[in-house]
Structure formats: C-alpha cells, structure tokens
C-alpha cells in the first residue's frame, strides 16, 4: 500500500492531536468507528456560540496510517470554519485531498463521520442549553 505524501505528512506530523474536556458546554465530541475495519476516530471541536465558528479542534485516532492522517486532516480543515461550512466537507473531498487509494477510502468516511458526530454532539448540547435557557426565561 503506497501512501501519498499528504498522508505521509499528516501521519508523521499530525496536527491538533489531543483532547479537550468533553463536558464543556462549547465542546462537541464525535467518536466513530469504522464498521468492519475497527478503526476509531475521535474529533473534538470547541465552538464560539455567537458566530458558530470552530475555535479549536482536537483529534485522536486508532487505526492505520491512512485513518490517522484522515483524522488529523479534518481536524486541520475544520479549524476556523463555521459549523455550516465544516459540514460541507465530503468524504470524497477528504479522499481526494489525501490521494487515498480506493481500498482506504473508508478512512475518509471515518473522518467525515467524525466531523458530523462532533458537530451533532455540540449541537445537541447547545440545543439542550437553549432549551434550559428558554425554560429559565419562561
């Protein structure tokens, strides 16, 4: 399996490795696993509520070099983007940007799923808070 220079770079020098407290209100955590393969990606985003801009992104990944690179790549990509914009990233785009071989396309899917899961988690929290706030306001 030959890996592209992009994969090589993200795998050897991963950006945004780490964790942020998952229980913080402005943090969304997505943990996804690739069915069949077993690779795991965890992506965390800290979002500025007012603007919907991702201020910080952190990832951890278990799996092959392609999975790790894909997760690092999306952490890099979502930084500084709005949630709406981050959600426009597609799996195909990830695969293309990293020149993933066909058999490793599932790693792009994994990273893509991680973005959606992280944002969903953040939105769930935000909506719950909004709900509480609304109730408080009532």
């Amino acid at each position: 399996m030959v890996q592209s220079s992009q994969v090589n770079d993200y795998f050897r020098h991963p950006r945004h490795v780490g964790s942020i407290p998952a229980d913080a209100a402005d943090v969304g955590t997505g943990r996804v696993e690739s069915p069949g393969h077993g690779d795991v990606a965890r992506l965390q985003v800290r979002v500025e509520e007012a603007t919907g801009v991702i201020q910080e992104a952190r990832f951890k990944a278990y799996g092959c070099s392609f999975a790790i690179a894909s997760a690092s790549f999306v952490a890099d990509q979502v930084m500084g983007r709005t949630l709406v914009s981050a959600l426009t990233i597609t799996a195909d785009e990830i695969g293309e940007k990293l020149s993933l071989p066909a058999t490793k396309q599932y790693c792009a899917q994994l990273a893509y799923d991680a973005i959606r899961a992280a944002i969903a988690d953040y939105e769930t929290k935000r909506d719950a808070k909004a709900h509480l706030t609304t109730e408080d306001e009532r």
């Binding site: 991963p14 490795v17 943990r31 696993e33 795991v40 278990y62 070099s65």
Partner: protein
C-alpha cells in the same frame, strides 16, 4: 553503529549471502549450459553443478540426493506435495488433515482440492499455537491420504511437534508432509529423525536466491506422488522444466553454509531475540507475545502492542523493516488469521508485529530497534483514543474485547 535501514523481516526473505552470489556468478556467465544437454560440455558442466548442489541440499536435511526435487520455491513444493499426493491416490473422495495456522501456500491448495471434492480438516491450535495430538489422531479417517503440518510458523515462529505428528500419521499409514520453509537452514531439521515423507524448502529463506526451492520426497513416497508440472520428465518425472542452474547452485551453497553455520548461530540469534523481547517488556506496558515462547524458532518474535495498529507502527518505523500480521499489503486488510487462531481478538491481531532476526542481526541493531519501537509505540498510543478509554493499560495489557462503543 548500525547501518540504516535495519532489516528485521527474515520470515519474508533474507539477504543473499555474498558467498552464495560468488558461487552463482560463473553459472550466470560462462557456464550457461542447459543441464539437459548432456551431449556437450556446456550442458555437462551445468549438470555437474546441479548434482553437487543437490547433494548439499540433501545433506542439510539428512536426505539422499535422489530424494530432492528442485522446484521454484516452497509455494510450488507445497502445491506439488499436497495436490500430487491427492492426485496419485485412488481414494475418492479423499481426505487431508492440516492446521488452521498453516501458510497460505498450504491452505490455498487445500481449498482448491476441497472445491474439487476432497475433504479437508483444519485442526485448531491452542493459545500457544500448538495442535493437540489427540485431536490429530481423531481427525484421521480411513480416507485420509495426507497430513500436512508445518515445522515452524511464518508469523509466530511456533514449532509443532513434528516427530510426534509423523508418528501419529505413520501409525495410521498416512503420508506426512511438512512445510519446512521457515525452519530448514535456520534450525536443524533431519527428515529421517523426524520421519517425514515430504518436506518443502525455500532457498530465499536461508540467504539463498529467490525462485528456487525443493521438495524432499522420501524414496518410498515417490511412486505415490503425481507431478503438477509435466514436460520432459526432469527431476525423476516429478517436476519438468529447464533447471534454474544458477539458482540451484546458489541454493546448494546456501545449504552448505547453513550446514556449517546454523548450529553456531542458533544460540546467538536466540539471545538477541530474547534481548529484544526483554527490551520491550521493560520499557513498555501492554506488550503481548503471540504464541508459545518455548516452542518457537530462535529468530522469531511476534508481539502485539496494545491500542495501536500494526500498519501504523510499521509505517512509522521507517528505518526498521519489520512486518505486521495485519497483512496491510493485501487489499482485504483482514488482520492475521494466525494470531486470531490463538484466540486473540481482531484488535490484538491487528496490533501484532513480527520481528525476524537472522544470522546477520547485530546487538546494536537490536538495541536500535528497541529504542525506535518504544518511541513509536509511545507516540502512537498518545494518538490513540483507546489508550485514554481503557483506564489501566498496564493491568490488562491487551484489549481482548472488541470496542463496540463506550
């Protein structure tokens, strides 16, 4: 002082010994005759070289030279042995017994036979990688024509009790084949002492050239074997085709070197292997040996490093050539069936890395590899969400269960 990259993948192949190349060179230049051309000097020179090499290979395993059939490698030897014994048998359907952890060069021919109506039993192994002899005895039926069990496993290095297996087979009048590709030239193998009927050997696993191997066929077994490559009747009619003279000469030289040097190298290689294992154990938690430590060839170490993937580890180990049971090279990405056969989870199988030492391995190389592996494992674990998720890595070194979510 080490030269990088370090090669520690001797199960895949070994470096051609320069003395072997020297022996081959005349047959890659002036002595280019076809050994079948007995009517002229070019041919006779080649034939004499083949005869001499045949004696060397035979001597390495305690065989007679007429019992050596040269092939293109152990894959072909295994196919010849397994398909050839079945084809020569009158029993229909017939039955073959093998083991779930065999090399694909045994399992695939068996699968092929199965699709043609032959029955195949694949014995399981215990967590140590060894088969149960009682189970073997029970598996043999009146229709069994062949038992095939390898000497040393190519992934985990575990050595089956060949002499005892041969005895079980012999007691039932069943032919016994062993895939000895990982053993011959590295540990002593004597076909008479072990009482095997057929044994597969490969030159490139013992510092010889690629593309040449042999099937040992005990004299009494020769009439019970049908060739799979016909055309001219070379090799007592068991394997036709122009002989690979330089390859065979190199094989002979490699065999001669192994005969002379194996015993001396054995304990040195074993102690380097032990040093490697001790290094990992001392400096890392979550390391797990795959298969029996005791029943293992001295040059093998197969370790699972918890919470990381073998392919990622291999990729990060850029200046150390080792290989992974995760078979990342293949399109399927299926983790090692051998490690899984030990009862390990897919994750532990994915985490397995195979270190293959050989007589060229140095202590400095071992120390470099320990350092490098420790650093890379640590870095990848820092990256791995699994390390966080499992509270006490040290206590439960290997993740045995699938992580189905949190």
């Amino acid at each position: 002082m080490v030269t990088l990259p370090i090669y520690m993948d001797s199960h895949a192949t070994t470096r051609l010994d320069p003395r072997v190349l020297d022996a081959m060179l005349p047959y890659l230049s002036e002595h280019f005759g076809n050994p079948a051309s007995r009517t002229h000097a070019f041919g006779r020179k080649a034939a004499a070289a083949v005869d001499a090499a045949r004696c060397e290979v035979a001597a390495l395993i305690g065989a007679r030279s007429a019992e050596i059939v040269f092939t293109s490698g152990a894959t072909e030897s295994n196919n010849l042995a397994i398909k050839g014994i079945v084809a020569a048998s009158d029993l229909r359907p017939c039955h073959v017994v093998t083991v779930i952890t065999e090399h694909r060069a045994v399992l695939d021919p068996c699968r092929q036979l199965e699709s043609n109506g032959c029955d195949v039993t694949r014995l399981p192994v215990g967590p140590d990688g060894l088969i149960d002899l009682d189970e073997l005895a029970r598996a043999i039926t009146p229709r069994t024509v062949l038992v095939s069990v390898m000497v040393a496993n190519n992934e985990i290095g575990v050595c089956q009790p060949i002499a005892a297996i041969a005895e079980v087979a012999a007691a039932r009048g069943v032919m016994f084949h062993t895939d000895a590709a990982q053993a011959v030239g590295r540990v002593p193998v004597d076909v008479d002492r072990l009482r095997v009927d057929l044994a597969s050997i490969s030159a490139h696993k013992m510092h010889g050239p690629k593309g040449v191997g042999a099937l040992y066929v005990r004299r009494q077994a020769q009439a019970r074997l049908t060739s799979i490559i016909d055309g001219g009747g070379h090799e007592h009619g068991l394997r036709s085709g122009t002989l690979n003279v330089p390859g065979i000469v190199g094989f002979g030289k490699a065999a001669a070197l192994a005969s002379a040097e194996t015993n001396g190298a054995l304990s040195r290689i074993a102690s380097l292997r032990d040093r490697l294992w001790a290094g990992f154990q001392t400096r890392l938690t979550g390391v797990h040996l795959n298969g029996s430590f005791k029943h293992r060839v001295p040059h093998n170490l197969n370790v699972s490093f918890a919470h990381i993937d073998g392919q990622a580890l291999l990729t990060a180990l850029d200046d150390v050539a080792v290989s992974s049971g995760s078979a990342c090279a293949s399109a399927t990405d299926e983790p090692s069936y051998v490690v899984q056969a030990l009862g390990a989870s897919k994750q532990r199988a994915r985490a397995s890395v195979r270190f293959g030492l050989d007589r060229e391995t140095t202590e400095a190389e071992v120390d470099y590899v320990i350092d490098k592996v420790v650093r890379v494992v640590t870095r990848l674990r820092d990256l791995s969400p699994l390390s966080d998720e499992l509270s006490e890595v040290g206590r439960d070194p290997v993740v045995e269960k699938q992580l189905g979510g949190r």
